[in-house]
Symmetry: C2
Amino acid sequence: MLSTENEILGVLEERYHVKSPLLLKGIGDDAAVIHPKGAEEDWLVTGDMLVENVDFRRGWSSPRELGCKSLCVNLSDLAAMGARPRGFTVSLALPGDLPESWLLSFYEGLSESGNSHGAMLVGGDLSRSEVIVISITLFGESLKRKVLYRGGGRAGDLLYVTGILGRSAAGLKLLEGGRVRPRSRIQREALQAHRAPQPRCKPGLWLAQCGMVSCMMDLSDGLSMDLPRMCKASGTGAEIYSSRLPVFPASLSWGCDPLDLAFHGGEDYELLFAVPKRKADTFEKSYPRNYPRITNIGRLCQGHEVVWVVEPGAGRRPLLEHGHDHFRPKSPRSR
Amino acid sequence: MLSTENEILGVLEERYHVKSPLLLKGIGDDAAVIHPKGAEEDWLVTGDMLVENVDFRRGWSSPRELGCKSLCVNLSDLAAMGARPRGFTVSLALPGDLPESWLLSFYEGLSESGNSHGAMLVGGDLSRSEVIVISITLFGESLKRKVLYRGGGRAGDLLYVTGILGRSAAGLKLLEGGRVRPRSRIQREALQAHRAPQPRCKPGLWLAQCGMVSCMMDLSDGLSMDLPRMCKASGTGAEIYSSRLPVFPASLSWGCDPLDLAFHGGEDYELLFAVPKRKADTFEKSYPRNYPRITNIGRLCQGHEVVWVVEPGAGRRPLLEHGHDHFRPKSPRSR
């Protein structure tokens, strides 16, 4: 039996830890960072694999949307380090009876998403399987060699997120309940967040350039899974003020708990980052108004990877890791 | 229904053809070639996907061997362009009941193979599936920016291959017949070629540096599938002298046709390359003696992608593409 993803990745990170003049960062962040000899910039590489009926369902998205989203999850990894996407490879395993039109629409979605963020399709591979498997590797370059890592945070730094948390998971709940077509504007918004998430490439680049952010990552498996990873890398704990979380309250109307989805939902592809307290005022004032809103949701604190939730009038309780893990039983996305 | 791999790749190559100062070569060669601004060298990226029961069987190789081989198929792509491997990402989809020891041995094989060729494991992703899916993306750098492409051949150039053809396919035939453990030295050799192919990294690098090779690729799907790709890229035809092919005659003893396997077997991971006729003598004399042997098997000729087989006393006949294609019925590896 396999351990959880976190445990497996922990073992690999320890066993295959290397640093060299070429490799500035290996396993253990959103992307690997290399520096080709002589190059003006650092180059970043990230990869994600999506499996049909595990990470997506064919009937829940158009092939074009799925193409966009497959690239998005990778674009989000580069956004999280402040890098500019440049190119990607796509390896696919496909059922032999898949309509060719499906495949071509999928590539259109990929290419559309790539074009709008500056990344070209450069190659890949094909194989055959019972279900669709999508493996994308995306590479990109830094700007002025300013790259943000997970591990730069210090106790006392304020924690921020972009956008809204739990909206994608609210969309997934609709799909799981059979609601593939929205019945209201708000359902459309939730489904859109799940099917066609927007990677935060521009905000990510700005955050890396502004010089006020100490660490950053993207939220793909849920705050309760991802924040402890940031804490582990930074050697800190964290406190979250639950009343401040930018939740998606409308999901109440289809039986969701907005706060629970904000903590554990996953697939938001928003950015989580920290800013030293003394810089926070300047930071908030200089953050561009036309970018997705940011919210101060808590702070890094002394402690060892433990995340505390502070609830108004109820003191603090430890946050349990109920986010997404492919190998843990009862993981939300494990269907 | 999907077309053949060649047809799909042809459509993608046409639709998504891009050239830019960054992208020197996109879809359509063994690897993509990029030039990071300011870098001393070109950087190459290649990816391969292997699916259990389609591209490999769990019972036919140890996890360590499978790790080595998974990286080898990528190393071979870089060898084919004369590049030096530097790093790789591994994305895996795994059945939840896979023993953890299997996974760790697989990574040991990967890492062992990577170390012996200068490539570090830098990242990847995990997902879940019914069968094992392995997706590796390997990157590497040129030496003195000398990169060999498929498309540099001219009519008249002599065609060479490294090593022996059809030996890996002969090993596969043994496995398909239930012979997982060899009964002779020669069976061991065939099984070894199939389970633990040796990428031709050093010869590939030498061939790119010597300045006498006009085009090169690796043989992964069989000569009958791969040579037409070289012809298409070079705008030529080709002639193969069947009596000269470096076949694996011992496979006769377990019912194989060595010539058929040399043409159509696949997974040899040998190099196929061309040398202008006037340079051939000098080339053959300067090729290092301690490298795998090379054999002149024919020549590029005028014509449109057609490959002719010249048989002693029997004139010439067109070579049919019976090599490996994931989506063509009755493809040899399609089990």
